[in-house]
């Protein structure tokens, strides 16, 4: 991918200078080798730390929602005429803009409260794929040279192509370029390979119930209920999650297997028409639970039954936010 970092920094500085944005959410270099981490830029000098490359994993739309919500809460006791608007700038690739569209459609904030700096995306490096390619050898140091990862590991030096260790969601991404933006930095990246996006799900669907249940229980047993998946998800923005409600208490806080399964099931079902397959929940999971299998199944159903893809257009309403007489409903009675 072309190096757009210098352009990105210039753009960020211009936005802050012209007061078009109060704060910009982007990525900076991480403290561990071959990592990038979310950062917040509010002065021109800080803009020089911005990076953008294939090591940027998190969907930053989550922070846009957090910042705007925190600002709105802080304005609650201010007289309406004295209230100030805060504009959040965000470095956004395809999936990030899809999440922003979902926020906008769900009336979380207004379009003029967010300034979208669109960036192209070639997909990001998946930690697990990288560990596999390195035979789990620890990464001592590394750098990104174009689309090649030059890595120094405990077991010697290695060069790996980014495309070989790309995240599974990125490999089949349909929307790797921004859908909406206020400015585009860099030229759009070539589309990935979306024709195969449901292949694995179709295979999984063919398994019998017992097999599917076994797989589900096995995956859920790994879950340690750290909530990282929920916290990283831009679509999980409820002020109080059902899992934390105490009257009534929907799920126990302990290790009971069924509580974990209920928590995960409920979260998954809340993702109907709202999961953009950004992979954030998967990349943050410390235990490597296969959540994508289920999220992608929901996405597939949503596409096949209602012909919509989450956050794919500003105009098209989300499937659960609209009604049409042609909506499929037979599956409700006949699963």
């Amino acid at each position: 991918m072309e190096n757009i970092e210098s352009k990105l920094r210039e753009e960020a500085k211009r936005l802050l200078l012209e007061k078009r944005a109060d704060i910009i959410v982007g990525y900076e270099k991480g403290t561990l080798p071959l990592t990038a981490t979310p950062c917040f830029v509010s002065t021109e000098a800080e803009a020089d730390k911005l990076v953008y490359n294939e090591l940027c994993t998190q969907n930053l739309a989550k922070y846009v929602h957090d910042l705007i919500t925190a600002h709105k809460n802080s304005q609650k006791r201010v007289k309406p005429e004295d209230r100030k608007k805060k504009v959040i700038g965000v470095v956004a690739r395809g999936c990030t803009t899809r999440s922003l569209i979902i926020h906008l459609q769900e009336r979380q904030y207004e379009r003029d409260e967010v300034y979208i700096i669109g960036v192209p995306c070639e997909g990001y490096v998946d930690k697990k794929n990288l560990a596999k390619a390195l035979d789990s050898a620890e990464i001592i140091d590394g750098n990104l040279d174009g689309l090649q990862l030059k890595i120094k590991t405990a077991a010697g030096d290695k060069t790996i192509a980014v495309s070989d260790v790309i995240a599974p969601n990125c490999a089949v991404c349909r929307f790797n370029n921004p859908i909406i933006s206020d400015i585009m930095v860099g030229t759009p990246a070539p589309v990935k390979n979306p024709a195969t996006e449901y292949d694995k799900i179709s295979e999984f669907e063919k398994k019998d119930i017992a097999e599917r249940w076994d797989y589900f229980t096995k995956e859920m047993e790994k879950c340690i209920r750290c909530n990282a998946c929920r916290q990283a998800c831009p679509s999980c923005y409820c002020p109080t999650c059902f899992a934390e409600q105490s009257q009534p208490q929907w799920v126990g806080i302990g290790e009971d297997k069924s509580d974990t399964q209920v928590f995960q099931c409920m979260r998954l079902f809340h993702m109907v028409g709202r999961c953009v397959d950004c992979g954030s929940c998967i990349s943050v999971c410390p235990m490597g639970v296969d959540l994508r299998n289920y999220l992608k199944k929901i996405d597939k159903d949503c596409w096949e039954l209602f012909g919509t893809r989450a956050g794919s257009s500003m105009e098209e309403m989300p499937p659960l936010g609209k009604f049409s007489e042609q909506d499929k409903e037979d599956f409700i009675y006949n699963p």
């Binding site: 991480g30 990282a228 934390e244």
Partner: protein, 341 residues
């Protein structure tokens, strides 16, 4: 105490033999994760590991633990104490940092003023066998900054060190010595001990990651209201990964789970990173945002624990550094705090 030498290929066999008499927790490979788990019959432990994904603290301080049970009857409530039985257990092959964490947790759960019988019972019934790090497993290891060492017997009953041709087995406590018959007859000579000292020194020098953990104590003492606290938490997701992985984090919550007439009172892990942490019944939470929660995390580890027990509540295993989904690195946080004038 006594020291012995064992052949390097005997470790798995010894763990297997112990499993006939004890419940043996050992590192096992589950898909891509290495975790501590009780060995099933004929299950092979995985000793060629760097460190386990999560800390082995759950052996003494389980994620969820029943404290008592109760039943509502027409004559009133009937309470039943949980049996609190602990099997004779061996924890085989923990790293020195994790064993160090047991010594730290003992200060809290087994102190003069408060005795936590649930913890103490399991701890007393468990023999801890430490497998020293002759080479530091990760570049993120910083045990030497927090009073630990890669070859160290803190919190251990038996210390096993790879000295090249053999393992040197040192019995650190009488509890460890009771298991001596599992480790053959070969007494260790002075040469083995010298070798071990050399290896220990070399391993210590190989720890390159360092943090000013002791140095920040006086700074934390007077900077509760410093503006720095507003700069740390921005990208924190408020998930509990760091605290769940941490060998020393020990905050817990107590709740009742009731089904019909029967209830159980359970204790489960809690995390200072969660919005529900310290939320009061009224709905008020004295720690209103992630800013206060992060201050609590740092203060608890590097100030309050030092005030209470004269020890830093961090063993430098680096799990939180490696597992944080957004790379919020505690080493950098501590370094930044050290720069406060």
């Amino acid at each position: 105490m006594e020291k012995r030498l064992i052949k390097k290929n005997t470790l798995t066999g010894i763990a297997g033999k112990m499993a006939d008499e004890f419940k043996v927790w050992a590192p096992v490979k589950q898909e891509e994760n290495v975790i501590f788990s009780p060995l099933e019959k004929n299950e092979q432990p995985f000793f060629a590991y760097l460190n386990s994904k999560n800390a082995p603290k759950q052996i003494f301080f389980p994620h969820t633990e029943t404290l008592m049970k109760y039943t509502s009857t027409p004559k009133g409530m009937v309470f039943a104490a949980e049996e609190n039985k602990a099997d004779k257990t061996v924890l085989f092959g923990v790293r020195p940092c994790d064993a160090h964490s047991f010594a730290l947790l003992d200060m809290l759960f087994d102190q003069e003023k408060y005795k936590d019988q649930y913890y103490i019972n399991k701890r007393n019934n468990t023999t801890v066998i430490t497998l020293a790090c002759v080479e530091p497993p990760y570049a993120t290891c910083f045990c030497t900054s927090v009073d630990g060492e890669p070859v160290d017997d803190k919190g251990a009953d038996i210390l096993i060190t790879d000295i090249g041709d053999n393992y040197l087995v040192e019995f650190v406590t009488p509890k460890g010595e009771k298991l001596a018959n599992y480790f053959g007859e070969t007494k260790a000579d002075a040469a083995a001990e010298t070798k071990k000292k050399e290896i220990a020194e070399k391993a210590k020098q190989a720890i390159k990651s360092k943090i000013p953990a002791h140095e920040i104590k006086p700074i934390l003492d007077v900077n509760f209201e410093n503006p720095i606290w507003a700069t740390i938490h921005g990208k924190c997701l408020a998930c509990g990964t760091c605290t769940w992985m941490c060998p020393t984090c020990h905050c817990f919550d107590i709740s009742d789970e009731v089904k019909g007439n029967d209830g159980v009172r359970i204790r489960s892990w809690d995390s200072c990173m969660f919005p529900l942490f310290t939320k009061e019944t009224s709905g008020h939470n004295p720690r209103t945002s992630q800013k206060e929660r992060w201050r609590q995390r740092v203060m608890h580890k590097f100030k309050y624990y030092v005030d209470n027990f004269n020890a830093i509540a961090c063993v430098g295993c680096g799990r939180c550094v490696m597992s944080c989904p957004v790379n919020l690195d505690i080493r950098k946080v501590v370094e930044d705090i050290a720069k406060i004038k």
